[in-house]
Symmetry: C2
Subunit: 549 residues, 2 copies
């Protein structure tokens, strides 16, 4: 029996039309440094998005699902690209300007981008790459920057404002299939080539509704959101789309991501919400001790990307800003969980513990934990397994180019289609996720999992230990066993037996490492995380002086 409801697709053009009419007076404010903030209403962005679509079609010949890349900061022009490109049926490809040059080249060529819209301030990054970009026919430059860097470039060069000037301010947006590609974002895995995630109109629309639900970010048109998380990073956590659904104002920092201008824009524009990774906030807190600013407008701060240290959360609480943890990844659009404590915990001692978790799954995200043998584990808050998720805004494959079938590597997607997140943790009976390890850092010992992070935290609580990293090493009997690598504090003298006994008070006996070594420093990645790959390699190649207890 078929329903009698209208068959109306969930399209990004609908979000744009809604936001630019019903919330036409809401604003996107872009920070421009000394020349004062640039203010653009949602109505103007609606007009200019239509103009951009006309320009792309009429002047640049964009058709069908052509990929149009953006190499841009967070700003109004980038918001226009967000709406114009998918709404006309093309695919928005956001480029991560922090990637190494060779990866950027690989990604642009892999996606076969025909057009790149670039901020003038990023031309020093783009210009040297142009000779390597095989499919790019047009460069559109937005905002200040030295155009002479493009002299002699082989793609045609256009000025954003000149291109859209005089074009009609309405566009007859096509009625697309909601499952059609809308946006493309590459995730740089630690191994192999970057993998493309292709969001659909449907996935972005549903994700936007979720962001606006009371138990997610819960913003209204009374709010202004400071969007620090880059637009090239999982659609800025869905904020540009979600805000157009409900009229939330956006404050965009453009390239002014340093603590001082961030503090200045908070004081002068008074956002009520902000979204960013923890490192940004650590810098901001430090800045505020040097140069106090009134940041009291910021009632809510969404933190994701990595866990917020409890000390940072407490520091924010003291400033009257409430940190709300969220967990997600490029493959989850990204909203996977949001850590709003359940009603029963509010005002109790448990409230803070809930806030330190990764958060609770919404109805749109199904979750399960799988153990070392692939078995399903209970949601008991204790059984640790790899998190797998399923839902209408979760990736089920990776893009592999226009002529190939999507990739479904077995370590990323289960046979029944769930995404294997690579994160290991527990889920409480009321659905709160606590992550402890990356799956690749877990030690699989005799059919049980040992959390490397638990061992590290326990070790680092010893007064003689400066840093400690625990990695899995092969073991004939158990498959894998933990290797403890320890950095001792200057002048400290603790021996391995002492440390092992200390650890024995905190974790189960079978988890205690037999293999120990002292190192001078834990190797780190470019973003400061422990680089366990290096340690595993050093062990395998016999470079570590390991003692077996």
């Amino acid at each position: 029996m078929l329903s009698t409801m209208q068959d109306v697709p969930l399209l990004i053009s609908r979000i744009l039309t809604h936001g630019s009419t019903i919330h036409g007076t809401s604003q996107v404010v872009t920070w421009t440094g000394e020349s004062g903030p640039q203010r653009r209403s949602f109505a103007e962005i609606g007009d200019r998005s239509a103009q951009l679509a006309h320009a792309l079609r009429a002047d640049l010949g964009v058709v069908d699902d052509d990929r149009i890349a953006t190499l841009m900061w967070n700003n109004s022009d980038h918001v226009e690209a967000y709406f114009a490109i998918p709404s006309m049926g093309a695919v928005l490809h956001t480029l991560n300007l922090r990637l190494p040059a060779e990866q950027l080249v690989w990604i642009v060529n892999h996606a076969a981008d025909r057009v790149i819209i670039v901020n003038g301030s990023l031309l020093p990054l783009l210009a040297p790459l142009l000779p390597s970009l095989t499919a790019v026919e047009h460069i559109v430059v937005s905002g200040p920057g030295d155009r002479s860097l493009l002299d002699g470039a082989s793609p045609q060069v256009h000025e954003y404002e000149e291109l859209i000037a005089g074009k009609p301010v309405t566009y007859d947006w096509p009625q697309l299939d909601e499952r059609q590609a809308a946006a493309l974002c590459y995730t740089s895995g630690t191994t192999g080539d970057p993998k493309g995630v292709v969001y659909s109109h449907r996935s972005i629309y549903l994700h936007s509704m979720q962001v606006n639900m009371t138990q997610s970010m819960g913003l209204t048109d009374e709010d202004t959101s400071l969007v620090v998380v880059p637009q090239f990073h999982v659609n800025a956590w869905g904020l540009p789309h979600a805000t157009f659904m409900t009229g939330v104002n956006m404050l965009m920092p453009d390239r002014f991501l340093q603590p001082a201008p961030l503090a200045e824009m908070i004081e002068s524009e008074r956002p009520t919400h902000a979204a960013a990774v923890p490192t940004i906030w650590q810098g901001l807190l430090k800045e505020l001790t040097v140069q106090p600013r009134d940041v009291s407008s910021l009632g809510q701060v969404t933190i994701g990307g990595s866990a917020c240290p409890p000390s940072l959360m407490k520091a924010f609480d003291e400033l009257g800003m409430r940190v709300c943890h969220a967990w997600g990844m490029t493959e989850t659009s990204p909203l996977g969980t949001v850590a709003r404590p359940p009603a029963a915990a509010i005002g109790t001692d448990e409230e803070y513990a809930y806030r330190l978790t990764q958060g609770r799954f919404p109805a749109g995200v199904e979750a399960r934990l799988t153990g070392p043998g692939g078995e399903l584990l209970p949601w008991d808050g204790e059984s640790a397994g790899e998190l797998e998720v399923r839902g209408p805004w979760i990736a089920g494959a990776y893009y592999s180019g226009p002529d190939s079938e999507p990739l479904r590597p077995a370590d990323k997607f289960s046979e029944d289609g769930w995404l294997k997140t690579g994160d290991v943790g527990t889920i409480s009976p009321d659905g709160f996720l606590t992550l402890t390890d990356r799956a690749k850092d877990v030690i699989k010992s005799g059919g049980e999992w040992i959390s490397s992070v638990d061992l590290e935290n326990a070790l680092m609580s010893h007064p003689d230990v400066a840093e400690a990293a625990v990695v899995a090493v092969p073991d004939e009997k158990w498959g894998e066993r933990p290797l403890a690598t320890v950095v001792l504090k200057e002048g400290a003298s603790a021996d391995f037996e002492t440390l092992r006994a200390f650890l024995g008070e905190k974790v189960a006996k079978w988890q205690l490492p037999e293999r120990w070594t002292v190192i001078s420093a834990v190797p780190k990645t470019s973003v400061g995380k422990f680089d366990k790959k290096v340690l595993r390699k050093q062990y395998a190649e016999g470079e570590l002086d390991v003692k077996k207890l």
Copy 2:
């Protein structure tokens, strides 16, 4: 270019599974009169919904898209039917217990309901109809009531609790097509047979997300919602589904809809939200003057069904309850608009004016106004036209039985698929709807529309006028012209010339009625609305003593 997102359907079983696990401790509290409230957790409702589905399949042989009717008050068992029936793939058909017997019979037969789940207290209503119900094979009785009324009934009779007892508490819910029928609700038009609206899993899922968005009802698991609006009335405005998405507790009044028990349950259960039509609230306010109760928990009251009189809204404001207008209809699932004032109006003189409108359209509901000639009218807050809407939870046809194509009557659906609501009003530039008339009550005079309600309100402000109804009557020159029918106050002596001059100060000259008559009372419908059909008929048959000025 296809997206790489998972193809996961939007299903009611997902809402159930989510609510009964992650929000498992949230509760449905059903009022039972003197025996104390019945409390059931979402987890228990999850278990019992699975049991009900097993019983329907194994014991009653329900398969495919069989229609299962409910003739029930708002209570926990009814919530279980809401989830079990669509989740297993069958179709929930909610029966309006206020309909005349012959309409109920027609509807049950038209839907070919195989099973009816009925509250024991409603057996006096159902039993006499049974001989006329051609397809009904099973009656399942829930809750207290005299079973002997079913003695000798030809369908098999079951006890709800006995039927589900011992059945498994999990069910392998099928992965349905999200466009499949989930629920069926008939709307009783003023003319012709009742029309069925068939909601899909998709439409209900999306509508539930909308209900939970910040600018709709905006509830969280800290809230308890008193669901007075019947579950047989457009899915209780979507609340049972929406609450399972976010863990909002529900307080269900069952058959205790009188002002005194409502006041008592508010005082003792302390709901934070309530949803009902205005008449319920008028009764409650009166009750509170007789028997004061602490109703201070009720921060938010959603009112729909018909407009809330300003006096009632003010009275609620004084009690600390904030009334929020919403507009919708059976064909719109029903959430069409919600009257949350825009941020810029909050705290200003305009705030109250915004709250008196029908409200603002969400992104999921596209709206347009069509004028007398079918032309599109601007959103200027002044041009009045018939409201047409479009969206994924808006009906595009009516159910016409298992073997017929859906009905798309031209007066209800436009050629391009929009729903013609039959409501006439204006839309402001920021998307707020103000309804003035039903389309059939508007006077189409020489290509312009005259609002009968405006003329009536103006007339009724004259001190000599007790009531006034204005209807369209045929006119050779203008097509239609207004006929003013006036009920004078006792001892009043105003003549038509005086009234016409009085009206002339308030409305445009071309809108002034030429035809006038005095009547003893305005004919009313069973729910107390002006019955203009009767007046038009009396005029057509020459029964009114009309004077032409």
